[in-house]
Amino acid sequence: MSAALHPGPAPRARDLILNGIFGENPVFRLALSLCPAVAVTTTVLNGVLLGVAVLLVQVLSSLTVTLTRRWIHPRVRIPIYTIIIAVWVSVIDMLLAAFTPALYAQVGLYVKLIVAFAIIISRLEVFASRQPLVPSFFDGLGMGLGFLLALVVIGAMRELLGAGSLAGIPLAPGKPLLFFALPAGGFFSIALLMALFNRIERQVTGTRAKAKGGGHG
C-alpha cells in the first residue's frame, strides 16, 4: 500500500504526518474506513468525536505493537493485532460513553466498529510492526489526523448545507438543504469531495490519479 516509505532509514516526523493527511489520506486517497465517514458526519462535532477516537486507537495500538512485537510470533500476528485493537477500542468506547454521553448516544455503534477498521490494522501490519517506536508514533498520528481532517471536512460541508450551522452555531440564513443531512446526501458529499481531491491531484501532478477502491473494513 505504501511501499515507498519502507524499508530503509526511518522517515522524518513531518513527512510521516503530511503523508497521513495528504499523500495517503485514509478516506479520500485510500478509500478505507468509509462507513463512519458517511455515517457520523451529519455534524462537525460527531465527526470530531469519531476522528479523535480513531486517532487515539491508532496511536495507542501502534505504540503497543511496536513495544510488544518481539514477543509476537509472525504466524499469529493478525489475531494478536486484532485483540490489541479491540482492547483499545473497548477502553476508548467506555471513556467516551462516560465523558461525552450526549454525543456518544448518536455515534456509539460506530465507535465500537472502529475495531473493524481496515486502516488501523493495515498501518500496524505495514508500518508499526517494522519501524522503531518514534516513527510509528508519528505515522499513527499522521493517519489519525488525516482521518480526523477528512471527517471534519465532510461534517462541515454537510452541516453547513444541511442544517445551515457549524458546530451547532447557526451561520447561514434561510432554509437549509435538508438533502445533505439525509443518508443520500452523505454519499453525494463524499462523491463531490473525492472528485475535488482527484482534480487537485491532477492539476498538481499533471497525471491522472484515481482514488483506488479496495481494502475492506
Binding site: A31, L32, S33, L34, C35, P36, V38, A39, P79, T82, I83, A86, V87, V89, S90, D93, M94, G108, L109, K112, L113, V115, A116, F117, A118, I121, L182, P183, A184, G185, G186, F187, F188, I190, A191, L192, M194, A195, L196, N198, R199, R202, R208, K210, A211, K212, G213, G214, G215, H216, G217
Partner: protein, 326 residues
C-alpha cells in the same frame, strides 16, 4: 448459466444456505422456549391468562384458563411495555366464550410491539408478545428495506464498493455474507445472553464478538475446504475478507444494544444479510452499465460509484414509511 454443471452448483449453494437458515430458525425457536430466555413470567394465580395476542390493529384476544367474574372495561389495563405508566384506553370488552375475551383498544396497535395486559380483579398480569411469525416478518423486512445496512446505516461500504464491479462476485459475496451473518449473529446472541450478561461482562462484548467472528469464519473455511472443495474455491477468497468486517460485527452489537430475543436476533441477522445481498446485486448491475458511460475525468472510479449509491439511498428512502402489519 450456460453450462449445466454451474447451474447445479448454484442450486446446491442456495439449498445449503436455505438449510442453514432453517436450522438456525429451529434453534432460535427452541431457545425461545427456555424459561430464562425471556425474563420471569408472573402468572401463577388460579384463573391464569393462557395467551394474549394482538390480532388486529385495535383488537386483543385474551384466553383465560377459567371464566372471569368481572368483564367490564375498567377491569382491564393495557399499556406498552416501554411506557407502563400510560395505559391505552380499553373501549369495549366482548366475551366470546367462557374463557375467551376480546378487548377493543382505542389506539392503533402494532403486531411487532410488546405490550402488557393487567387485570385488576383477580390481580393478573401478562406481557403481550408479538406472534413469532409477525415478529420475524416485520424485523426481516424492516432490516432489509427500511434500515438497509448499506443505504441507510452506511455499514460495509468498503466491501460494497470493492466487490460490486462484477455481478458474479457480488452474488457470491452476498450469499456468503448472509450465511456468516446468521451463524455469527446466533452464536454471539447465545454467548451474550447466557454468558456475558448474567456475569455482567458486557464490557467485553467487542472482544468476544470479534473472537466469535474470527473463529467461525476460520471454522467455515476449514470445513468447506474438506467437504465442499468446489464451493470453497468459489467463496474462499470472500471468507477471508469477512473476518474483520464492520457489517458482520454490527449484527451482534445491535442485538446486544437492543437486548433482543432469540427470534429477533435471528430475524435481524437474516434481514440485514438479505438486504446487503440485495444492495450488492443492485449496485453491481448498475456499475456494469456504468462501464459504458462517459464519466467526467475527476469522477472516474469511486466518486461516480458514490453518487450512484446516493441515488440508490434516495430510492430506498421510499421504504421508510412502510408498515407491514396493517
Amino acid at each position: 448459466m450456460a453450462d449445466p454443471g454451474k447451474g447445479r452448483g448454484f442450486l446446491r449453494e442456495v439449498l445449503l444456505i436455505a438449510f442453514v437458515m432453517l436450522l438456525a430458525l429451529l434453534i432460535a425457536m427452541l431457545l425461545g422456549r427456555i424459561p430464562g430466555a425471556h425474563g420471569a413470567d408472573t402468572d401463577t394465580a388460579a384463573p391464569r391468562i393462557v395467551s394474549a395476542r394482538v390480532v388486529a390493529p385495535d383488537h386483543v384476544v385474551v384466553r383465560f384458563s377459567a371464566p372471569l367474574s368481572r368483564t367490564d372495561a375498567a377491569n382491564f389495563r393495557f399499556s406498552q411495555e416501554k411506557a407502563p405508566d400510560l395505559p391505552l384506553p380499553v373501549s369495549a370488552v366482548q366475551v366470546r366464550s367462557p374463557g375467551r375475551i376480546e378487548l377493543t383498544i382505542d389506539r392503533p396497535l402494532r403486531a411487532a410491539e410488546h405490550y402488557r395486559l393487567e387485570v385488576l380483579e383477580p390481580p393478573l398480569a401478562r406481557a403481550v408478545r408479538p406472534s413469532s411469525w409477525a415478529l420475524l416478518l416485520t424485523v426481516v423486512l424492516s432490516s432489509a428495506l427500511i434500515n438497509n445496512f448499506v443505504f441507510t446505516r452506511y455499514l460495509g461500504l468498503c466491501i460494497f464498493f470493492g466487490i460490486t464491479r462484477k455481478r458474479d462476485a457480488a452474488v457470491g459475496m452476498g450469499a456468503t455474507f448472509t450465511l456468516v451473518m446468521v451463524t455469527t449473529g446466533m452464536l454471539s446472541w447465545v454467548l451474550y445472553r447466557f454468558v456475558l450478561r448474567p456475569l455482567s461482562l458486557s464490557f467485553l462484548q467487542i472482544l468476544v464478538f470479534i473472537g466469535v467472528v474470527a473463529f467461525l469464519v476460520q471454522m467455515l473455511d476449514t470445513v468447506l475446504k474438506k467437504t465442499h472443495a468446489g464451493l470453497h474455491k468459489k467463496f474462499g477468497i470472500y471468507l477471508m475478507l469477512i473476518t474483520t468486517n464492520c457489517i458482520i460485527l454490527a449484527v451482534p452489537l445491535l442485538n446486544a444494544a437492543a437486548d433482543a430475543g432469540a427470534l429477533e436476533s435471528l430475524a435481524l441477522a437474516m434481514g440485514s444479510g438479505l438486504g446487503f445481498a440485495m444492495a450488492l446485486f443492485l449496485m453491481s448491475c448498475a456499475r456494469e452499465r456504468m462501464e459504458l458511460a462517459r464519466v467526467p475525468a475527476s469522477f472516474e472510479g469511486l466518486p461516480i460509484a458514490f453518487a450512484l449509491a446516493g441515488l440508490f439511498a434516495l430510492a430506498f428512502m421510499g421504504f421508510s414509511g412502510l408498515d407491514f402489519m396493517r
